[in-house]
């Protein structure tokens, strides 16, 4: 294995030995298959939570394709992220149905409450905020999806209540 370049040590340290092993296993399983890059990145992100440069290098080296191509694909698809995510993913749907039913007000409210912009993670790495374009739950608009929970017909005044639910869960975990 190539040594990790200076400056990427911090990012590398975020991944455990076990995670690296899993990523390598994924790469090995797909090596030589046509069109393997995207499924590999999907699985790698599932393991490491995000795709920092160090992981992209590993994938490029493992599959024998240029790093530029890996980087090109990672930045092209919205599913991939190079930033770490919070423990809870808050996704505000701004599909058209949610937009006309006030989804943009929710985005503003959550953004203000967490003091982060979409695409960012809050300082405790508890929540990260993302904008999504339609989760196909238009009948329940506007929706906010936190992790796997879809919150329906959310009103701006109720946003904090929803987030508090997750905060309390965290406190219980550590209590």
């Amino acid at each position: 294995m190539k040594p990790i370049p200076v400056g990427q040590q911090a990012a590398a340290d975020e991944l455990t030995h076990e995670q690296w092993e899993k990523i390598d296993a994924v790469i090995a399983a797909y090596r030589g298959k046509p069109g393997a890059l995207i499924p590999v990145l999907e699985e790698a992100q599932g393991i490491s939570g995000y795709l920092p440069e160090i992981v992209q290098r590993r994938v490029a080296g493992g599959l024998g394709i240029p790093l530029s191509q890996v980087y090109g694909v990672v930045t092209f698809y919205s599913f991939f992220t190079m930033k770490p995510r919070g423990r809870h993913q808050v996704r505000v749907c701004l599909g058209t149905a949610c937009h006309v039913r006030g989804g943009h007000l929710l985005e503003k409210k959550i953004s203000q409450g967490l003091r982060i912009q979409p695409g960012e993670v809050d300082k405790d790495r508890l929540f990260s905020l993302e904008i999504v374009r339609c989760v196909g739950a238009c009948g329940l608009a506007p929706v906010v999806v936190v992790d796997d929970d879809t919150h329906k017909q959310v009103k701006a005044a109720r946003v904090e209540e929803i987030l508090d639910g997750y905060r309390n869960r965290e406190e219980e975990r550590y209590a």
């Binding site: 191509q69 698809y77 599909g95 339609c134 329940l140 879809t150």
Partner: protein, 1042 residues
Amino acid sequence: MLKKIKSFEALQDIARQVAQDHQKYRLRLMVCGSNDCHLTGSNEIIDEFQKQIQQRNLEDQVQVVATGCIGSCSMGPVMTVWPEDIFYMKLQPADVGEVMDSHVEGGHPVERLMYHDPNTGQAIAHSADIPFFARQHAIVLGNKGLIDPESLRDYIWQNGYQALHKCLTALSPEEIIAEVKAAGLRGRGGGGFPSGLKWEFCANTKGDVKYVLCNADEGDPGAFMDRRIMEDDPHAILEGMVIGAKAINASQGYIYCRAEYPLALERLYAALDQARSMGLLGKNIMGTGFDFDIEIYKGAGAFVCGEETALMTSIEGKRGTPRPRPPFPAISGLWGKPSILNNVETWATVPRILFDGGDAYAKIGTESSKGTKVFAVTGNINNIGLVEVPMGTSIGEIIFDIGGGVSGGKQFKAAQLGGPSGGCVPAAYLNLPTDYEAIVKAGAIMGSGGLIVMDEDTCMVDMARYFMDFCQDESCGKCTPCRVGTKRMLQIVENICKGEGRPEDLDLLESLSHTINDASLCGLGQTAPNPVLSTLKYFMDEYRAHIEDKKCPAGVCADLFTSPCQNACPVEMDIPAYIALVRAGRLADAYKVLKRTNPFPGVCGRVCGHPCQSKCRRSQLDEALAIKNLKRFITDYVPPLRPEPIPVVHPEKIAVIGAGPAGMTAALEMKKRGYAVTVYEALFEAGGMLRWGIPEYRLPREILARELQEILDTGVVLKTNVKIGEDISFDDLKSDHDAVYIGIGAQKSSPLGLSNESAAGVIGAVEFLRDYTMGKDVWVGKRVAVVGGGNSAIDAARTALRLGAESVTILYRRERKDMPALEAEVKAAKEEGAVIDFLVAPLEILVSDGSIKGLKLQRMRLGDFDSSGRRRPRAIEGQIVRMEIDMLIPAIGQQAELDFLSPATQIDDNTKDTVAIDAGGNTILVNKDYSTDHAGVWAGGDIVTGPAMVIDAIAAGQKAAVSMDRALREAKGEQPWKETEDKIEIPVEVDEEVETLLQIRIRELSTAERSRNFSEVELGYDEDMALREARRCIRCDVKTEA
């Protein structure tokens, strides 16, 4: 090990077994277990039913099944009881016991949980009778609510895989393609390319390896039909793909599904496993020797991958950018091999076509668009959900008949068709048929079938911004016109939304649109400008309002206003300020705030149509603030001001014709600016329609008198009993004054246009109300009919009842929801005993001895849509009824009396001495600043707009005064006037916790107390009520730093 299916009989055996299994049960409770119903708690419903069935030992008789989506997503959780077809909606776990007791065990369906017709309030038991379902034509969604989406056996029970068997054993590839061509099937994903033709190209291309692809990258926001098909009927897709494979002789297929659809993926994987294990997929399918398998490919989130060549590039593991065509994928597609790509809905339609035959399918739909289409109907609409209708069904039918109309009682503004790169069409297009070509002609596209309904609170410029934002975000970047152009367009539209737009931006947007459309490689770029082009085409006035007036009429673009209520008010009253002052107990200051922008707050506190309340942010939480009532409260509790006369500082003299709200406001505003102002009123008192048209039980005289006096106290001179054109000629008035303002209103009732309208007992609503108010001896019949649906009709009806009519019937040609009258007025009229008969129009006035004896009435029904988005009333032939009456009050509109404008003044061609009048002779035509083409003459109020709200007339008077003053000063080279006002400090006090709390209801006289008198019905708030109501304001005008 499951037995593989190798014959038609084997399929039929399974179908028979499943049918027998079902027949074992007396009742089958089919609970919708799809996404939306699941999220509203269908799981708990299912668990509770199962528990209770067990407790009651009914397992042998009653079965609970979690079905796929039945499309009525906003009614969820829903359930249908088979075989009776009883439909229940909005179920709660607590309802289960009642359904079990009363229905399952007692045989009596529970009416409370059924669908209720919103018009009649009647419960409808059977789903087949509910308009939402009855008007649909389910083909591709044919299995909805019938099958367990995870059961292949259920799919086979509904004739599944029989079409495939036919294709593999009895039809040649050419014959399969011929059937698809005969069906006229066109791609349901957006392009609408004939599927059979595409298959034929591919079949005719030489090659050993060919691919069948399914586009399941449903990325259009607001479209979720493909998701539902994958989740609820996955085998239909697989069966369609195998048939396609047979037609082009392919052995490998891919489904490209977006990763955002986890349940769809799960069900697809499961369906693939089931199909393989039963010999319906893989090697030697159904024992026929045909091999074909399918792999699922998860998309990583890029809208452009819905484009066919981009999708293929993505499967190849690269950035999903489109490729130039030709070569078309049918010649060179995935990995350079001949490929056919269709979307989920198209593939799921294929088995149905092959099962019933192409000709049968082609019988449905229009000439160029055959079959049915699934629409995802969302946005501001009552019945959000999936609907499948024959092509050609009008969008109005989908929105109003199936969709149940606009939610929250709001007005329809636009429908957005075809996803982000579709277009918005206005109310005038509700008759538009859903046909590929017709939709394109209207400036939108069919797309994948997203239909988003937008109400009056939607800003169309903001919508254009929203869609441009989406398109520029999703542009793959390959073509410069799309990558850079969409970004520039977004910037321009964003600037317009911020109030920084320039007039020339509109042309720039249009030319950029055409460039992007012409020069982009794929459908995304070519159609990306559509939302801007279609909104420019249909909603130009909203762009103008943003650019020229820096106003967002819908109250969406936050940079252009501080609070939505103030933004909605025609005179921009500072509503949050006076409500805050009520809360702080500073009523005198609150009154000053009212008076700054409105000389008639006491009047408006009683009779205003309150557009402010319809935009109140609080309504998103529970209910709008009662702004009107709070305004009245302030005027009730603060003593009249005694304004000092304002000195005259200008030599110019101003004449105002008509002492109604428009005229008196214009007079006051000119007085404030230091002019000598004289108001000429034809009748013996000032007030106009406020005095003569609005009955006292709504607006007591002393309230109006007080506010008129406050205007006169400033030194405005009022001359009553002076009729211009009789007592003084218009030309003389003109030559005696430097500026003239015409605010005479519309003083005559419009006739019905029937013969015998001059018979005794027929009197127009305006004349009836005015005669009574003037103290004339007014005759009132015993049986009275009022024709019309506006506020005058209601006023006339309630006045007739008070004056002793035994029965009053209001005849209206449309439905309740179409009545322009205020909701509260209609309610009060009914409480007081008026009857409203809808869908009826007078046909003939029956007379005997010169007096009215009755009416012949034509029964109406609602037909197609007019340009206002309401359905046109149409006569129902042969349905004519008679009604005996002795008094008829037409209240269908008002006309003006403009004879005083001498012929010379009216028709003085091409000189600057013309007051232009519209063709109907009822309104004066004015410029944007309320000036007429006659130099020195301005006009406003009902005489310009036709009957409108008081607050509109007040606004008109104010705007005209600004323009008059400017014109007079500009002539002298002076700067325009600027108002100096006392600074009133506005407190900011908000409740920490916002609790759900409805409006504090106003006190009212009981119906008994109202009988036969004109005492004011509404009694206003007391101090405690006002304080509680004021506390409900969430102060959305206060901007806090993030």
